[in-house]
């Protein structure tokens, strides 16, 4: 059972960022229209292209994901570790996160923080933008710290018992988050805020980028791992079966603690000031982090097969027909399953991005947003939508309205995001840049820079973006109607997340403790980051200001 005194906090942490998502999604649709040259202007209805792009990134990729990670964490930890979450810490964390978001929203929507969520000094934003982001992140830390005493107590009270798998996954998520946000906290607190307040002359740009990208890639695992928790813990049960391998599930979460951080230089392949040898090391380590995802593909496919055969599935491939793709009672299943389907292409294109010399083909082209919309806007976003609906409806004791529509949403989204990405992949390989208001130059027939050969990719992208927008509208239709349904106190009290049993329930010591994995992570980080850090600090780059 999910802890009763956390219900309000969890529901607030789900619904607050979803409200902001209305704007984030709205501007996603606008961006594809600008890029296709269908809006040829620097702004639309008073909001500039790059202001909207900043809000789209901050809301969708930082605010929504962080709030959701915390809210889902509260639900999983309190259910699996016997109501042990500190409610005061949860409330304080939520208050800080909401305050931080509101503080940052002011300068973003006033157009005083058009720096995109990547900060990219020496573009300067209003100090409140940076301060708001700090409060948001600190709020997530406080929420995480509120789980630790209860976890240690649970371990003491249950000697010899395995920590429940979902809790392992959530702790792995937030251990990664805690480690990777420290350097970026240094960047923001020591470099950016004093400079933005006018207290320092400028920023060591090379250093700031190294610190940001230390954070930038583990961030994607912070997005992804809550979805993995759902895949391992919940999806096999929804499919009518069991988790194929408990050991692999634990190994995957713990391996991510070690492997998700020492590889950030693969975002900096095309940059000066860092030796290609260090970049090659990070490229190799990036490939290593593909291993837990390959194991995941195996374990989840095996779990689905087991479930399908329990449902009467037969044959070598025919069993695929026996999964609850359109089952209105198990409407959550397609949100998880289709996310995995999307992630197959997201993962493969990620391997392209990691491939060192291939970076010259695709760096900063529209290939990159095409790729990450198949990850963060694929498995991550669908899992967030589905689970937000599931949790808020369940915790409030409501009934899901229009379940047929609820089932259809992930399908509409999948068609949309595949179409969108197809267009942007195609354009990216032709050299179309990302983060660019194309309608003002390259896709303006009256401009000297007009590129008619770039139209087709952007048109396909625009069609996909509009379908994605439609899926979001359908989602809000179902969410609002469900929340408006009659409340049942009894339903609310008995609500819990589905938890799968294990088919192979191995008991292997190496996955029974976080400590060795955290130690390994710290060693890997030191080996991979100390040499480039010494190189950058040794070169005495000037302080630069806008």
């Amino acid at each position: 059972m999910i802890q009763k005194n956390l219900r309000a906090v969890i529901v607030l942490e789900l619904l607050f960022p979803l409200t902001l998502l209305l704007f984030g999604a709205y501007h996603g649709v606008l961006q594809v229209l600008y890029r296709a040259g269908l809006i040829q202007d620097t702004s639309f209805l008073g909001i500039g292209y790059y202001t909207g792009l900043t809000a789209h990134g901050v809301i969708n990729a930082i605010v929504l994901t962080t709030f959701f990670g915390v809210a889902f964490g509260h639900a999983v930890i309190s259910q699996q570790l016997e109501q042990s979450v500190s409610a005061p810490a949860a409330k304080a964390g939520a208050a800080l996160m909401i305050l931080g978001t509101l503080v940052a929203a002011g300068p973003i929507f006033a157009g005083k923080a058009d720096v995109l969520y990547t900060f990219y000094a020496p573009m300067k934003a209003h100090p409140l933008f940076y301060i708001g982001v700090v409060l948001l992140v600190v709020g997530s830390w406080v929420s995480f710290w509120g789980w630790i005493p209860g976890y240690l107590r649970w371990r003491r009270n249950h000697p010899g018992r395995k920590t429940p798998l979902g809790a392992v996954g959530i702790f792995a998520t937030f251990i990664i988050w805690q480690m990777c946000t420290l350097p970026v906290a240094y960047e923001v607190l020591v470099q950016l805020i004093p400079w933005s307040l006018g207290l320092t002359a400028g920023v060591n740009v090379v250093l700031s980028r190294l610190l940001f990208w230390f954070f930038g890639h583990p961030l994607v695992y912070f997005w992804l791992l809550p979805a993995y928790v759902m895949y391992y813990m919940i999806m096999p049960r929804l499919a009518g079966g069991k988790l194929y391998s408990d050991f692999y599930a634990r190994f995957v979460f713990l391996a991510f603690i070690v492997l998700s951080t020492p590889l950030g230089l693969h975002h900096q392949f095309t940059e000066p000031a860092i030796s290609s040898g260090y970049k090659a090391l990070h490229a190799a380590l990036t490939f290593l982090v593909a291993v837990p995802s390959l194991l995941t593909a195996f374990t989840l496919a095996a779990s689905l097969e087991y479930g399908a055969r329990q449902n009467g599935g037969q044959g070598l491939f025919a069993w695929w027909g026996k999964l609850p793709y359109l089952d209105k009672e198990r409407w959550l299943f397609p949100y998880l399953f289709l996310g995995l389907v999307i992630f197959i292409l997201g993962g493969i294109t990620g391997i392209v991005n990691a491939s060192y010399s291939m970076s010259a083909m695709i760096h900063n082209t529209s290939w990159i947003p095409a790729h990450f919309h198949l990850t963060v806007a694929g498995p991550v976003f669908l899992a967030i939508l589905g689970m937000s609906l599931y949790l808020s409806v369940g915790l409030l004791g409501k009934k899901i309205a229009a379940p047929a529509v609820a089932v259809s949403i992930p399908y509409v989204w999948t068609v949309g995001v595949f179409t969108f990405s197809a267009g942007l992949f195609y354009g990216g390989l032709k050299g179309v840049p990302r983060r660019t208001n194309l309608g003002m130059s390259y896709l303006d027939p009256l401009s000297d820079a007009y590129r008619p050969d770039w139209r087709i990719g952007e048109y396909i992208g625009a069609v996909g973006g509009c379908i994605m927008g439609l899926a979001v509208l359908l989602f809000f239709y179902v969410l609002v109607r469900s929340l408006a349904s009659t409340r049942s106190e009894q339903e609310s009290d008995s609500f819990a997340l589905p938890v799968s049993e294990a088919y192979h329930d191995e008991d292997i010591g190496v996955v029974r403790n976080f400590r060795p994995w955290i130690v390994a992570a710290v060693i890997a980080i030191l080996i991979s980051y100390i040499p480039p850090l010494i190189q950058v600090l040794g070169a005495n780059y000037p302080l630069v200001s806008e």
Partner: protein, 152 residues
């Protein structure tokens, strides 16, 4: 539900297959980098950030381009070289971060203030290559561009 301390055979095989797959991909990258010489920019220490953009002819068919990116233009803005030329591009920025991508080549660089980036390109075909800034650099970003004309 069996509880035991052994990893089933099939799971060992999957782990081995995953590692072999990853090693094979890395082998291909190493081959491209070492044998084919397709690498990524490295730390350039031999040249200080320059103030002026210019194209320097260092020999027959050999050029050195010192490119300065500044909101929202590149200097030099129109580069002209003859077919078959090899050009060493050194790229820096005078203000904020910009991008420097030459279409239909492997030149794709970040222009960072205070640092110098480097890539080399050989131009085998006559024609014009567009150069574009591919990093957001505020309002005029989408109009920050230049070109290279390769004469026959």
């Amino acid at each position: 539900m069996a509880t035991n301390s052994a990893i089933p055979d099939v799971e060992r095989k999957v782990l081995a297959a995953s590692l072999i797959f990853v090693a094979a991909m890395l082998g291909l990258i190493a081959y491209a980098a070492i044998r084919l010489g397709i690498s990524v920019p490295t730390c350039v220490t031999g040249i200080k950030p320059f103030e002026e953009g210019e194209l320097i002819r260092v020999g027959p068919g050999r050029y050195e381009a010192h490119v300065v990116a500044k909101t929202w233009s590149f200097k030099p803005n129109r580069i002209k070289v003859e077919k078959g030329s090899v050009v060493d591009f050194y790229v820096t920025s005078k203000d904020i971060v910009h991008g420097f991508m030459i279409e239909q080549t492997n030149v794709n660089l970040m222009a960072i203030p205070g640092a110098v980036n480097y890539a080399q390109a050989r131009f085998e075909k006559a024609g014009t290559h567009q150069i574009l800034c591919h990093e957001f650099c505020r309002a005029g970003h989408e109009n920050m561009m230049a070109s290279i004309e390769v004469t026959p």
